[in-house]
């Protein structure tokens, strides 16, 4: 018996809808579960209090500061270096074998598992260079991890700028650098910033690299040479050792909220800047 095509269409559409609904459902389940279990323990004193009794009570302020400092170090190094490299690769070199080789290399490194960066960071920064377990070691390792991604996304954003923009600016007498800053960068900025912001989000959730290079100290870090926890590491330790599931959920809730805020603002910015450009 041959099933009429419009029935297969309806069946197919329902199944596809179910699949998508399931995917979104999982998202809502995970986020909802964490927020439901955690938000009720999140208070101002939780956010600003010290870690007490290894995390069984108190707050997570040291972890928040640890996360913030580590990301500052990572982005402070990877963003300028990465965007500058991307500008050079996209604007100052012509398509050639060397550039292709470099791009291939960067592509490979962007796919390397994060644990390898942890291994590398542990050996180079913690042991060989003597920084020990510190925010500096963690930030540098994170910087190495997100550098390829920032270069790739920035370069793609730069390359997506139509050639006319550059030509028009050049024909008006602009120097190469002026072409870049006045004609190309403004157009590519949403893409570049999105890449940077998403790298921030990725660093916040990253545990493998951080735990081996920045350690897991519970005290407030006094400088980048001190060891510190990030919220992700704190959550990992609390959850794994069964120290306190309330505190674990609360930490995860704060962490997920922070990541949500970062991701949503990245999208919002992308959207707004792109819409602005379309009407321009």
């Amino acid at each position: 018996m041959r099933i009429p095509p419009n029935i297969t269409q309806n069946i197919a559409r329902s199944l596809l809808f179910l699949a998508t609904a399931a995917a979104v459902g999982i998202l809502i389940f995970v986020i909802g579960f964490v927020l439901a279990g955690g938000l009720r323990h999140v208070s101002w004193s939780f956010l600003t209090g010290p870690i007490i009794d290894m995390g069984r009570s108190g707050g997570i302020f040291p972890a928040i500061i640890g996360t913030g400092l580590m990301i500052l170090v990572a982005i402070g190094i990877a963003a300028p270096l990465g965007v500058a490299s991307a500008i050079y690769l996209a604007e100052y070199t012509s398509v050639g074998r060397l550039t292709n080789a470099i791009r291939f290399g960067i592509n490979c490194l962007s796919a390397v598992p994060s644990i390898i960066f942890g291994l590398f960071g542990f050996l180079l920064f913690v042991v060989m260079l003597g920084f020990g377990w510190s925010i500096l070691s963690g930030g540098l390792s994170l910087a190495a991890m997100i550098l390829p991604t920032i270069i790739l996304t920035s370069e793609e954003a730069l390359r997506s700028v139509p050639l006319q923009y550059r030509n028009v600016a050049a024909s008006l007498g602009a120097s190469r650098w002026q072409v870049v800053t006045k004609a190309v960068l403004p157009y590519a900025m949403p893409g570049i910033l999105t890449g940077v912001i998403l790298s921030i989000g990725r660093s916040m959730g990253e545990t493998a690299v951080v735990i081996f290079t920045a350690g897991s100290a519970v005290q407030m870090p006094r400088s980048v040479f001190d060891s510190a926890r990030t919220m992700a590491v704190h959550f990992y330790i609390l959850a794994r050792e069964g120290l306190s599931s309330d505190m674990a959920y609360a930490t995860a809730a704060v962490l997920i909220c922070a990541i949500l805020v970062i991701n949503i603002s990245a999208y919002a910015m992308m959207h707004r800047l792109m819409r602005g450009r379309r009407t321009a």
């Binding site: 995917a23 598992p113 997920i256």
Partner: protein, 278 residues
């Protein structure tokens, strides 16, 4: 001034390349000697990992990584492609603007949260209803499938949207339903792009560490069923990294080399597939 800036940018590009080359060299310098010493065949196919006795066979971990990845793909690819087809072909535009970012958000959730949910929810379910320790290939595959879903969905949507509209219009003009057009014309045309997404997802699954340590059990034996516990290459590196010295440490770097090559090959294949033009 312009020359100064161009020199600075050149310096930045060189530094970046140098840093990345340094990382690669570091890993190779530490890892390759032990592979040569044990013999490449013995290292990759040896089934005994007793580092404190000098025996470095990583085959059980390779098998573990492969099982877990294949499981993730078996679960994630149909799921992901279905979502992509729905979003690209059947969903109203207003829905897509909300649903696509929502699915991409799945990639933003930290892997340790997924691992934790797996331990708290999934492992007990598997243990009570299917048997085995619960901390198993199946649990890891489920969690990894969710983690790679956004990659597969994103790339597949791009691949489907890259198919020229004329294909679809021609098919509809001939009287086919939308589903028939999608299934018989568009999807086959988008095949290589979707494959690229699948391969990228595979790379991500192979590289995942924290979630796997939490829910795969980390047993060192070769698994016989999806309910068995396994240790992946990445988990092995993470568990032994802190205290490994000498040859043991080199063996972990060598594992890193194997991972590096594996992912590099996967990525090259993915790139070639993604470049297909119409």
């Amino acid at each position: 001034m312009d020359r100064l800036i161009s020199k600075l940018l050149f310096f930045a590009a060189c530094s970046s390349t140098a840093i990345l080359a340094l990382i690669a060299l570091f890993i190779f310098k530490e890892g390759v000697p032990i592979m040569i010493k044990s013999g490449l065949g013995h290292f990759i196919f040896g089934t005994v990992w007793q580092p404190l006795e000098g025996r470095f066979g990583i085959f059980p971990f390779i098998v573990g990584s492969i099982w877990v990845t294949i499981g993730a793909l078996v679960l994630g690819v149909p799921f992901g492609v279905a979502c992509a087809v729905f979003l690209a072909e059947f969903a109203p535009r207003s829905w897509v603007n909300f649903l696509k970012p929502a699915i991409e958000l799945l990639a933003g959730i930290p892997s340790v949260v997924y691992g934790f949910m797996g331990v708290v929810w999934l492992a007990p379910l598997i243990r009570n209803y299917l048997g085995g320790p619960g901390l198993s290939i199946l649990a890891a595959s489920c969690v990894l499938a969710i983690m790679i879903l956004p990659t597969i969905v994103g790339v597949s949507i791009d691949a489907i949207q890259a198919v020229p509209k004329t294909y679809k219009e021609g098919s509809l003009a001939l009287g086919a339903t939308q589903w028939q057009s999608t299934w018989r014309i568009i999807l086959p045309a988008a095949k290589s792009g979707i494959l690229a997404g699948v391969i990228l997802g595979m790379g991500r699954a192979v590289g995942e560490t924290m979630a796997v340590i939490m829910i795969a059990g980390n047993a060192t034996q070769i698994p016989h069923s999806i309910l068995d516990s396994v240790r992946t290459l990445t988990a092995n590196i993470a568990m032994e990294m802190g205290f490994a010295v000498g040859e043991h440490r080199q063996a972990l770097f060598a594992t890193g080399v194997v991972l590096f090559f594996f992912i590099m090959i996967l990525n090259s294949i993915a790139l070639r597939f993604a470049k297909k033009k119409f």
